[in-house]
């Protein structure tokens, strides 16, 4: 488990890549209770002007959180987490789907063993989250 003394400004979190397929969207819809058809029905998605079915923003946020909680070990270290949904994660109807890429860097150290982590989250080469930032309290 990572400790406050192991971390300085500029410390990078392990880069992560999370595959996302249509089946993952259906599973997330069921688990979260968000059955908006733009996340599983191409006809509805294109009718409302989207290029294709898109992932739930909260699924993308959940994957971004994994990059932090896998780094800290105990997810309870996460004290504050904020994201802006800048661009949709388009999930094509293929076996591979797409993937959500997450990198993170310690931006600032705070008192009480806390650090600010800035995350960069992208899919298909495009940044999908803006201002993705976590406050983490380390041991």
């Amino acid at each position: 488990m990572i400790s406050y003394d192991d971390v300085t400004v500029g410390t990078e979190l392990p880069a992560r890549s999370f595959p996302v397929t249509r089946a993952d969207l259906v599973r997330y819809a069921g688990a979260s209770g968000d059955f908006n058809p733009i996340h599983w029905n191409q006809r509805v998605a294109t009718t409302v002007g989207l290029p294709d079915v898109i992932a739930h923003g909260m699924l993308t946020m959940g994957l971004a959180a994994r990059a932090v909680t896998d780094w800290t070990g105990d997810p309870a270290a996460l004290r504050d987490f904020t994201v802006r949904f800048a661009r949709p994660v388009v999930v094509p109807d293929t076996d591979e789907g797409t993937s959500v890429e997450v990198t993170g860097v310690v931006k600032r150290t705070l008192d009480d063993h806390q650090v600010l982590v800035d995350l960069t989250v992208s899919a298909a080469g495009t940044k999908v989250l803006g201002q993705a930032r976590a406050t983490v309290r380390l041991a």
Partner: protein
């Protein structure tokens, strides 16, 4: 039609308690592909000092999304849900959500504004357990996309 800005400051009554179950946490973690044992194994959770399995950080959306239905469906607000996209989301954690919690939500309208032809509404949802202890605070901004140019 712009959203009714007199809704700012309005709070809705606490939702009936939602009982957080181990299997629901396991299902939610699996949907994120997350096999962290702290979400599945009470012994692993206890080893980290938690009384039972805890929930992934974005789990509160399971409660806060239905909690905001009272507001979103309020005809006086005039929100067209088919034009809504999720603009931003923030969680502040006072302690992790864990199995056995019975949590209520209080939704408050914090901000309504217009930007570039879109209406934006920000809600703050307080999650508290049965003893009244604050567990987490969630902020959501919904963006209501303005009418498109005729094709």
């Amino acid at each position: 039609m712009p959203l009714d800005s007199s809704f700012v400051g309005r709070s809705y009554p606490p939702t009936p308690p939602y009982e957080v179950g181990r299997e629901k946490i396991r299902e939610f973690a699996a949907a994120l592909g997350d096999d962290n044992p702290v979400y599945r194994d009470p012994a692993a959770a206890r080893a980290l000092g938690h009384p039972d399995v805890i929930a992934p950080p974005t789990f509160p959306i399971v409660l806060t999304l239905p909690a905001s239905a009272a507001l979103i469906d309020d005809p006086e607000l005039g929100l067209d849900f088919s034009r809504v996209v999720h603009g931003d989301q923030r969680f502040e954690y006072h302690r992790p959500v864990r199995a056995g919690d019975r949590l209520s939500c209080v939704v408050t309208v914090e901000k309504i504004r217009s930007m570039a032809g879109n209406d934006m509404i920000t809600t703050r949802t307080e999650l508290a357990d049965e003893s009244g202890e604050q567990v987490a605070t969630a902020w959501s901004t919904l963006v209501v996309r303005g009418p498109e140019e005729p094709a």
